[in-house]
């Protein structure tokens, strides 16, 4: 059975997250707890261990802004040494990070960008992932990117090679895969084939969250600020059926409230077969359904993406 939890993004969110999980009938101790380590890294590791212990016996560290592919060697060493000091004390079951870029030339970007997945990046990534794993003494899980550009077609191949070279794992973000599919870049089916075949693992660990169409209407973004969409719910069901989905962490960064979290947890439970809906989903299909954003340069647009109706968000 899949264990479901809400990402603990920072200490301030604790009451909100606990209240939502209790409303769902799953108070502490939780099956697992995942923290966004970026917002906990300034704390004393022993304090952190003692704080997390009553919440769950199983802790995951999720790292967002390590920028481990772009740091200088010294900066990477400093980061890894600090992370390892926390890992030694807290002993997380899993550590995960991202394959992404955070710079264009000398400009720091406020949003992560997708890698090019070329040969140079492959060898650099392999060297850095190996170093990362040496420091933490365990497998590093890398999260898939919400592709919206053509090079995203190569993501599975890149991840597979990296896994073979370094022994790292995959943290599968279902909503990112949905963004890639709806952007006409990479169909979910390609991921499912990989996860059930060559990329199968004894236990798959997943993420799920919200995404949005940009204001200009020409691009989706993983935003973690909106409800789970029907497309994501459907994708979750397919992932749960096709893989051994051991854990699923729901990420919500903005527009966070107990009702919003509870509503999405219920959608997740229904999607992966853990529960029944007790109220209507907080969305409905718009009457005048419009096709998903057409992508002029789409190379792998699926039938599902072409037919996906535009959503109309309705407050529950």
């Amino acid at each position: 059975m899949t264990a479901v939890c809400v990402s603990l993004n920072n200490l301030g969110d604790l009451p909100l997250v606990l209240a939502a999980l209790e409303r769902r009938g799953a108070g502490a101790p939780l099956p697992f707890v995942e923290i966004l380590w970026d917002n906990f890294c300034h704390l004393d590791p022993a304090w952190l261990r003692d704080f997390l212990a009553p919440l769950s016996a199983e802790v995951s560290f999720h790292v967002m802004m390590s920028k481990f592919l772009e740091r200088t060697g010294d900066e990477l060493q400093t980061f890894l040494r600090h992370l390892a000091s926390h890992v030694r004390v807290v002993k997380p079951a899993r550590v995960s990070d991202h394959l992404a870029r955070f710079r264009v030339g000398r400009i720091n970007t406020s949003l992560p960008l997708e890698m090019r997945y070329d040969r140079g990046e492959a060898s650099r990534a392999a060297e850095r992932v190996a170093r990362y794993q040496d420091w933490i003494g365990q497998e590093l899980l890398l999260e898939n990117y919400a592709s919206t550009e053509p090079q995203g077609e190569r993501q599975i191949e890149f991840v597979d090679r990296l896994r073979r070279r370094t022994g790292c794992g995959l943290l599968f973000d279902v909503s990112s895969a949905v963004v890639a599919e709806r952007s006409g870049i990479l169909p979910l089916a390609a991921w499912l084939d990989y996860l059930a075949g060559a990329g199968a693992a004894p236990a798959l660990h997943g993420h799920v969250g919200g995404y949005r169409l940009s204001r200009s209407g020409d691009r989706y973004h993983g935003t973690h600020d909106s409800p789970i969409t029907p497309a994501t719910a459907a994708a979750l069901g397919r992932v749960a059926k096709a893989t051994r989905l051991a854990t699923l962490c729901y990420e919500r960064d903005e527009s966070k409230s107990v009702p919003a979290l509870v509503g999405d947890l219920e959608i997740i439970d229904v999607a992966i077969g853990l529960g029944r809906a007790t109220r209507p989903a907080p969305w409905r299909i718009a009457a005048a359904a419009a096709p998903a954003r057409p992508r002029a340069t789409a190379t792998a647009t699926t039938t599902a993406a072409r037919l996906s109706p535009r959503l109309s968000l309705v407050q529950p």
């Binding site: 200490l11 604790l14 600090h82 264009v104 000398r106 400009i107 720091n108 970007t109 550009e149 691009r219």
Partner: protein, 193 residues
């Protein structure tokens, strides 16, 4: 460069580097002179005439916000920034208590810390620290309501050890006191009662 990279770069120049501050006739923003941390971005582009006090204040607030969101994965719990040209200080403190909040303070009367580092060529200095004495100072400078919110989850006996006093009125137009340097840190405000 892909379309998305260009869009994100332009957005970042606008939101983090505050490139619009340079004025409509300034032309395209120059390249930053060297690689830098994300939270240094608001100071990475030169401002015409070193910028006004208000421009620097806006940049300090932006830098503090980027730092609090931890886009550089920094490990310190406090960031102090002071503008020696304006005679003002800002302080940022990461949440350390379950159910608490980040603290953003400023502008405060000038507090100059030892071992401060300069941000590019601006008269703005900073220090990241975990020093408990500086944290106590920071909390004492916070308005009572904000200090209470920040420390919401702290146990009673911890809270009792922090003295919270009323706030010095915020004004950027206040005459700048002479910078004060000390072995650790000094606040320009009178010692609490």
């Amino acid at each position: 460069m892909s379309t998305l990279s260009r869009e994100v770069r332009e957005r970042s120049l606008r939101e983090w580097y505050l490139a619009d501050d340079r004025g409509p006739d300034a032309g395209p923003p120059p390249r930053p002179s060297r690689p830098h941390l994300a939270w240094h971005s608001p100071f990475a582009l030169p401002l015409p005439g070193a910028g006004s006090v208000a421009q620097r204040a806006r940049r300090i607030r932006k830098a503090g916000d980027i730092w609090l969101r931890n886009h550089d994965l920094r490990f310190s719990g406090q960031l102090w920034l002071w503008d020696e040209g304006a005679g003002t200080t800002w302080a940022f403190r990461r949440c350390r208590e379950p159910g608490g909040q980040h603290l953003r303070l400023g502008p405060l009367p000038l507090v100059v810390l030892e071992r401060g580092r300069r941000l590019f060529d601006h008269p703005v200095f900073y220090r990241e620290t975990d020093d408990p004495e500086l944290e106590a100072l920071l909390l004492s400078l916070a308005p009572p309501r904000e200090a209470r919110a920040a420390l919401a989850g702290r146990r009673r006996h911890h809270r009792a050890s922090v003295r919270v006093t009323s706030r010095v009125p915020e004004t950027e137009a206040a005459p700048a006191p002479a910078p004060r340097r000390g072995p650790r840190a000094r606040s320009g405000r009178p010692p609490p009662g």
